[in-house]
């Protein structure tokens, strides 16, 4: 699935000078299938807004976002749900876990929304790999932020997708855990032939990026 952006700009950023050098805001831009893209940007330039626009949460923008030549604004709620279940997965900066569900239930809920793609055992495997197998049955609300971040990563990998969109996914992880998480994400993306878009503040080598864009 290709994502093309035409003259995209969130309305709150419209009158700011920041976007003058941007490769994305107010530009025409094409993300090809299976491309791995890093979007680097300092705070306040609209990283989270960009992710939310791509994911269909925010609609206060000018320009267009096209998924395979179909305008995102034309997706109805069922089409959007299908997109989020089958083609687009996301790791939010604020993680968006259900605090009253356990870590395991948060992941399992996502798995059950796309039934038949991953098994319950794969949750345990990934949790072991990322070192959170011991806290799977704790309510997510009482896990540390780093643990929650790893739970959100595993949750995002429970569904089929063609694009994985991540907003500062490793902000609260140490280098060793970043390495483990990045390896897991890379292998899952490769297995699906999927592309990834990661937004972050600084330059990094977590993945073999084909393009690095500045917001």
């Amino acid at each position: 699935m290709e994502i093309s952006l035409q003259s995209l700009i969130p309305i709150p950023l419209k009158d700011r000078k920041l976007h003058e050098q941007s490769a994305i805001w107010k530009s025409n831009c094409l993300f090809r299938q299976a491309e791995w893209i890093k979007i680097q940007a300092p705070s306040g330039t609209g990283k989270t807004s960009f992710q939310h626009i791509l994911y269909g949460i925010r609609h206060d923008y000018e320009g267009t976002v096209m998924y395979n030549h179909q305008n995102l604004k034309d997706f109805d709620e069922d089409a959007l749900a299908k997109l989020r279940q089958e083609q687009l997965s996301v790791i939010f900066q604020d993680l968006k876990l259900f605090g009253n569900l356990t870590a395991f239930e948060n992941i399992e809920l996502k798995r059950l929304l796309s039934p038949g793609f991953k098994t319950t055992e794969s949750i345990l495997e990934m949790a072991t790999l990322l070192g959170v197998d011991g806290i799977l049955h704790q309510p997510a609300a009482i896990c540390s932020y780093g643990e929650q971040q790893r739970i959100a990563i595993i949750r995002a990998l429970m569904q089929p997708f063609e694009w994985l969109i991540m907003d500062e996914p490793f902000s609260h992880l140490d280098d060793v855990n970043i390495q483990k998480a990045a390896t897991l994400i890379a292998s899952e993306c490769k297995a699906r032939g999927a592309g990834l878009i990661i937004t972050d503040l600084e330059a990094d080598n977590h993945f073999n990026y084909q393009r690095v864009l500045y917001l």
Binding site: E77, R84, N100, L101, L109, K110, L112, L113
Partner: protein
Amino acid sequence: MLHQLLSKLIKNSAGKTRFLMALVGMSVAIFLILSAVQLQVNYYQLLHAKDNQDSIANFLVVNKIMTDQNIGSSSLSAEQIKDIEAQPFVESVGNLIPSRFKAAIQSNSERFPFYTDIAFESVPSEFLDITAKDWIWNEQSNYLPIIVPNQFLDIYNFQFSISQNLPQLTPAVVKMLVFKVTIQTPSGPLSMNGRVVGLSNRISSMLVPQSFMEWANKRFANSPGTNASSRVVIRTKDPGNPLLVKYLKEKGLTTDADKTRFSKYRQVVDFVVNISGITGILLLVFALLIFTLFIQLTIASCKDEIALLVLMGSSPKQLKRFLMLRFYPPNIWIAAFGLILISATQYWLYQFLKGKQIILSPFISGYTIVAAIGILLVIAYVNNHSIRKWLRQKK
């Protein structure tokens, strides 16, 4: 499993008491509505079922109420008969034509000596409750067939025969007797044989065939006149119809009050059915309102969870299905329980009335089941509508 997780997220935070209250209201409402339907069906069945049908009840002899004003003009005009015929509760009308000549009957037998002056009436054959093969007359006939009211035989057997020391008669014996009918004609008395061919419960008159009445009235009438009817027989589906009773009263007509006695019962049943039905519908509306409010409160109190579920890719259809599964099944249980309760009551009623020779179906009617399904469909529609509405608003 998904539903278990969703149940953990979307709790009945609007309160169990309120939910129970809505369920109790719904139970009473469904029970009242279904009872009203079953009661109406039972009453209809009692009125119209063959087993219970009273053969005299569907035929009413109607005449003007005799007052000081209409003495001498008691006959019904053609317009009045047409008007009666035009009423929706009247199926057909038959004219009762009176004889306009003097007649007498007397016994041919020494053993049963009797003599009495008599008058006849005639009515179209389809209004008779007797189908005698001898019920025909023409000028060549050897005897005049007569239908006698059963009441006459009762009066004879239980009063007259005892007071006169005469033998009592069975209907079979009466039908074997041949007696003399004498008509006063302008050229002197004319005698012929007469024979009782049947005993009627329907019309309290000595009846002769219409062909005889027309022939005799034409030849022997005391006064020139038309064959105007003094009375009519009407055939009606429901003699208890309050509209019929009202019509007769308005037009100054009367009939056997006993036959329209169902009218009063019918009004009572209609009243009970209406009260039960209207109360049931009002309760249903209130229960539905409470349910809607309950759904709204539940969705409002879980709006963050619902928004996050949608973000996770949960489709509105999935959420709607989950919420319907949460709110709707109790209604099915309530309707099923209501039907079981009414079935039990119906069976008890069947047993109870059987002892009183009143036959009612031991099972509830299809209409009651259709009503239950109808109510469930209404609840499903309202629930579905409010879930969709509030989900859309909360997103």
